[in-house]
Symmetry: C2
């Protein structure tokens, strides 16, 4: 007979999910209520207000889609595209490629602006593409590339899109809560994120926000949205973008308890404080890694504090290192994807997992593991350097 | 400052979500691990085996979609249809209508077989439709209509479909775990269900199973599935329908802990025992309701034990009764939908919520509430009749 599943205790410092705050796990385990219960409607309203805070927006249509970030990406494209539409897609990692897939499955055409994995989106190339494709309706880009740890300049991209009268779709799966995401200030039309990165909630939800212009487009489309489940015309009736509340699907009640608690925690800390915390621990981690003799993949000005791509030293079996970290230390870090497979490790410092204990633990575990696998590194300095960074004597 | 959300304690006897077993809530709150962790892969394998047990199938492609039952419905249609395909859709309630929406959003044509809300799908009408549409590729029907509490004859419908060489899509959202669902025995090609009905898990997941014939079709489609998120060609690489395990999306880890525990509980009880329990408490509830002078909407031979449509007596404000039950007793029952709006209440007896305490509590609360609202009912007999049913002296 199959028995209950008891997960091992891990420290999650990969590309997500990140360690979940116990407050969130506890909130999620509270008794389930109905999805039309007046108290649940109140919870939905609070979640909306808290998400508006996190996205820095007054957008009415701000809500969590009841599925993971991948479904959030799909919701962005299926709502904003009609067959035959042209989209400029910036690709500098795995998720730009997934955007292309989404455009094509909507019957649209993707004009690709390609940059190397590990570099930011090149603004000049984007302007050239916009200028050569004046019939493009949408510019889509990834704010924080989870596959490479690169931050692109969202404000500048949105400014370019506005100049060419394009709507914008931004992937903020890994950025929200870790670095500034300014929906209204930058004028982004559709943003989707994920619950399991810097919000440190459980995976399974995709917070989204739609500008008034995006809502207007969706309401006046000539054709129905190809996905019933993700059709914002129907979902806004349930989440209160319209006057009445009507049933669409059964909301994932307990996951929404969790998201609410995660957002309460973010509000308590304050957005700016959360970004500063990510930056501080990132600096300590990098200092420690460099003291060990390891190097960072991404140029200083494009580095995401919450996701650190570290070059794998020549000749090292990167998978063996990750396996050893998991087995000996219960520590999960991420592998490289695509053109960075085998070349980098991805070390996450996301949300609740972004703290001094994890930084020191990760450096210590990595130093021990690399040494034991006979990788030539500088021993005995990494922790000291990181501690100095924290001003611990 | 917004504070943590503490839900009221409810008894969930509506159309779902149903009361969640505390074992499941506790399992869900265990620490999150990564979606590529070897221990998580083991959990996925166990979930697959347990779902095969629940669906009575050996289908390799048996898995929970990472989103609610509505997404499961969409997954069935987007994978099995290509543009221009014709589908016979049986509608005898709300969810048949949603199937039509799905067919049309896939670029298909739905031939509707309509039956009154509250009655089962008429086999003769279906045969006529199949015979008049020999180019139809798929027959789609709802096994247990959540909007009306009606069970249709899935085995007979599948036999008809086979005779006309149609694939079958079956909605088992409300049936799985409450009445017999025999995927292999009946030869159904695609079944989707929901986590929050008779499995008594939290809402947010849609267990599905695909026959070898359905998998074969999906693998050899001429066009890509229009949804990237729900494309089984990609999902089977992650859930192990193919040889390798490759990342598709971040699975909702903790929700899957919950589903695993719900399925372990079902296995411990045994499928047949679970069906018998639903039937037993249903009989006691109906006896008690009838002793109060209330009547059932659905004919005896088509009644779902897990969802009981009760006629609202003439002149009664049904919403006022539901509000009073919620306010005074914390008891949630459901309203009618569509053509049954205002005409029925829907009383669920699903999974963990299907027990003697809930039956007696519901009868007591309903009798008190109806009396206090001056609805003419027979008082003082209902509980006694139900108790007799349970052989309590």
């Amino acid at each position: 007979m199959t028995s209950s599943f008891h997960p091992p205790i891990r420290t999650l410092m990969g590309p997500g999910p990140s360690d979940v705050n116990p407050r969130i796990l506890e909130a999620m385990s509270r008794p389930t209520i109905g999805h039309l219960d007046p108290e649940f409607i109140r919870l939905m309203d609070e979640i909306k207000t808290l998400l508006q805070y996190a996205f820095k927006t007054t957008n009415i249509l701000t809500l969590p889609v009841s599925a993971p970030g991948s479904a959030g990406m799909e919701a962005a494209f299926v709502n904003l595209l009609e067959r035959g539409d042209k989209v400029i897609v910036c690709q500098n990692g795995a998720f730009g490629g997934r955007m292309k897939e989404n455009v094509e499955r909507c019957g649209g055409t993707a004009v690709m602006v390609m940059d190397d994995w590990g570099t930011a989106v090149d603004l000049d190339k984007v302007e050239t593409a916009l200028n050569s494709n004046l019939d493009a309706r949408v510019l889509a880009f990834v704010h924080a590339e989870t596959s490479t740890g690169v931050l692109s300049d969202a404000r500048a991209l949105a400014t370019l899109a506005a100049r060419y009268d394009c709507l914008t779709i931004m992937d903020a799966v890994t950025s929200l809560g870790g670095v500034d995401v300014d929906a209204d200030g930058w004028g982004i039309d559709v943003i989707y994120s994920g619950s399991q990165k810097c919000l440190s909630c459980v995976p399974g939800l995709s917070p989204m926000t739609f500008s008034a212009r995006a809502m207007e487009f969706i309401r006046n489309r000539g054709t129905k949205v190809q996905s019933w489940f993700l059709d914002m015309n129907l979902i806004m009736d349930y989440w209160g973008g319209s006057a009445r509340r009507s049933y669409h699907h059964t909301a994932p009640i307990n996951a929404l308890y969790a998201l609410h608690e995660a957002l309460v925690i973010l509000k308590e800390e304050g957005l700016e404080n959360a970004w500063q915390r990510h930056a501080r621990h990132h600096r300590a981690l990098v200092a420690g890694l460099e003291a060990m003799g390891l190097s960072m993949r991404v140029a200083l000005q494009s580095r995401l504090p919450q996701l650190n791509a570290v070059n794998v030293p020549d000749g090292v079996d990167e998978a063996a290192v990750r396996s050893a970290l998991l087995e000996r230390y219960g520590l999960e870090i991420g592998a490289g994807l695509g053109s960075l497979a085998g070349k980098v490790w991805r070390i996450g410092l996301m949300g609740f997992a972004c703290n001094q204990k994890n930084v020191l633990f990760c450096l210590s575990a990595l130093e021990d593991t690399l040494s034991s696998l006979n990788v030539p590194i500088t021993q005995g300095r990494s922790l000291q350097v990181a501690r100095t960074h924290y001003n611990i004597r």
